[in-house]
Symmetry: C2
DNA sequence: GTTAGCACTCTATCTGAATGAGTGCTAAAC
DNA sequence: GTTTAGCACTCATTCAGATAGAGTGCTAAC
């Protein structure tokens, strides 16, 4: 689609613009050394590239800046990833070496590393509950009217919810019900739990305990939580140092969205595994028109997955970020897999 | 210290400045109606007030703005609180009416209400662990090397931590230890727990189980967490709409601090109960020099307490915020007390 | 096909003048 | 003695016009 030379020039422009955040002129490209043509020649090519939609011009006498299409081309034809610097690798080793036990701790720590290495905002999604299974269930009465329901998953995640005890249900009722659930449904995937409760535990409860209806209601309440993935943010204030967000209005749109966890979850999740790059308006959400979101997936035990992502301006250091995400997602998978096998 | 008239003028200036965020001139005060003197007279008083340190002047030909001392006087001599608007009261009723069970949910919800009612940033501290007591303890093995420790407090809070199982310790060892703890130390205040474990459980374990050292180590690890109060933030992006934070540098200092939960905890906690106002440099932390922090305490069961706070620019609607905090802290105490009695 | 040269465009920056909000001081009025 | 009108003065803000400079597009020469 693009000639060799056009491709080189586009590359050089994107590269320069990522560094400087200022429109790039023909002369500065010519002086870079990697495109050995005169400014005039480069100008001609730039005019063509603009006509093709890869570049934009803020005004007639300014240099060019990449359009979304330009970034997209840059990313799709990017040179193979540079190896990371030694000091960065150190941080990864920390992740593996530190005695981080719970999955959430690993995820959170990875988010901090990611934000501090890239100077962008990191958004991480905890593992999907979909494929984890039930390890333990407990119903603990606090007083006459309320109890805490505790669910432990196979990955060691603990979810808890305070529920009200339906009238007439006794402590021993609850204990028996919980024991039944542990005996019969331990190891059952979380997404099948409700169905299995109805099919297998229902009659059992009906036989042994009064208040069938109430107990089922109680179980229902207890299992509501823990459905949604947890969101971990880090480096949100890195957004402030980007010149494109000097405008407080734009900044607020983005930061506001970062507080809406359900929307974030929706935006980060995608069906496919691996690395994803969404540039500017490729993001569905209006607030991200000036942003690029790069995501990768990590695996927990080969079946259940989570997502790690970096949010920054469209003028983002794609190569570095993609490389980092790739490595970190692998490191996380390594740190997490095997530990909580079936 | 100040004459009646000086006090009135200072009041008027602070009031105007809070609304407009612009230096206040003598003419505009004179036109307000509540200080029936000519601009010249007011000018003279303003000069005196500046000399006394209650006002400042950005430059010679500008109006006056309140100094920290001016705000302090304003707050200390403030008219009794205005009753809240009807629509605001609705939100409070929501808090009481909604079937919010867990303490954390109430606190979080209160934070959201607070931020949306005031348009400032709310910072809430969960209840201090200090006075809650142990309800239940559990050690649940996940695989050969790791286990989850779960602690439930008398207020229904659930803390969990993944710990590694010391070599040689069996599942039944752990179960027995947990049972022992529940039997002997249920109801013991959390801050005494470790001491009581050594004094009462230690020998018991030594008698019944091998691996005394390892089991004690395991217990030690399990009880590390849950010490610090949780921090709930809401409306952080409200900081962006304040004209004093149009300067991104200042903004970043504040937002960065908001991410440091331990520092926040330290800044919010104070020995005394009731409402506290910290204006500008009265805050210990450098990042808050342009901010005022107003805090109130809520009680959980008459013994254990938490803090709710509002962070805004020193030019803050003190009357409204103090009124809201007062009412909301009461509402929270009402919603929380009695539910988790001893 | 490439490049040197040149006219042209447009932004950013600086200057100086005009504007106006607000003050401080003095002297008159109450 | 207190209050106020009047006036000179200060200083930030705004605007217009001038200038500089970066960069372009086009043409003609290589």
């Amino acid at each position: 689609m693009l000639s060799e030379r056009q491709s080189m020039i586009l590359n050089a422009i994107v590269d320069d613009y990522i560094r400087s955040a200022e429109p790039v002129g023909s002369r500065s490209i010519s002086k870079r050394g990697d495109v050995a043509f005169s400014p005039a020649t480069i100008r001609n090519e730039m005019a063509d590239l603009e006509e093709l939609g890869f570049l934009e011009q803020p005004h007639t006498s300014a240099g060019r800046i990449p359009s979304n299409k330009g970034y997209r081309y840059y990313v799709d034809h990017m040179a193979p990833l540079k190896p990371l610097k030694a000091e960065d690798l150190k941080l990864f080793k920390q992740l593996a070496a530190e005695k981080l036990n719970a999955v959430e701790e690993v995820v959170q720590h990875a988010g901090t590393i990611l934000a501090s290495m890239t100077n962008y905002t990191s958004i991480l999604l905890g593992p999907e509950m979909f494929n984890t299974s039930l390890k333990h269930f407990q119903l603990l009465p606090l007083n006459e009217t309320t109890a805490v329901a505790i669910i432990v998953t196979s990955t060691g995640e603990v979810e808890n919810k305070t529920v009200s005890i339906p009238p007439g249900v006794s402590a021993s009722d609850m204990e028996r019900t919980a024991n039944l659930l542990n005996a019969k449904l331990s190891g059952v995937p979380m997404h099948m739990l409700k169905a299995r409760i109805y099919s297998e535990i229902g009659q059992e409860i009906q036989r042994h305990a009064e208040h069938y209806e109430q107990l089922m209601k109680l179980l229902d309440d207890s299992l509501v939580s823990g459905k949604d993935q947890k969101v971990f943010l880090s480096g949100t204030t890195n957004m402030l140092i980007q010149p494109e967000f000097r405008d407080i209005g734009k900044l607020k749109t983005v930061l506001d969205l970062l507080e809406e966890t359900p929307t974030l979850t929706r935006l980060l999740n995608s069906d496919q595994k691996g690395i994803h790059v969404r540039i500017g308006s490729e993001n569905i959400h209006q607030a991200f028109v000036n942003c690029s979101l790069i995501t990768a997936t990590y695996s927990l035990d080969g079946e259940s997955f989570g997502t790690i992502g970096i949010l920054g301006p469209t003028r983002m250091e794609y190569a570095k970020v993609i490389g980092t995400l790739d490595l970190l997602s692998r490191a996380m998978s390594r740190a997490l897999t095997g530990r909580y096998g079936p």
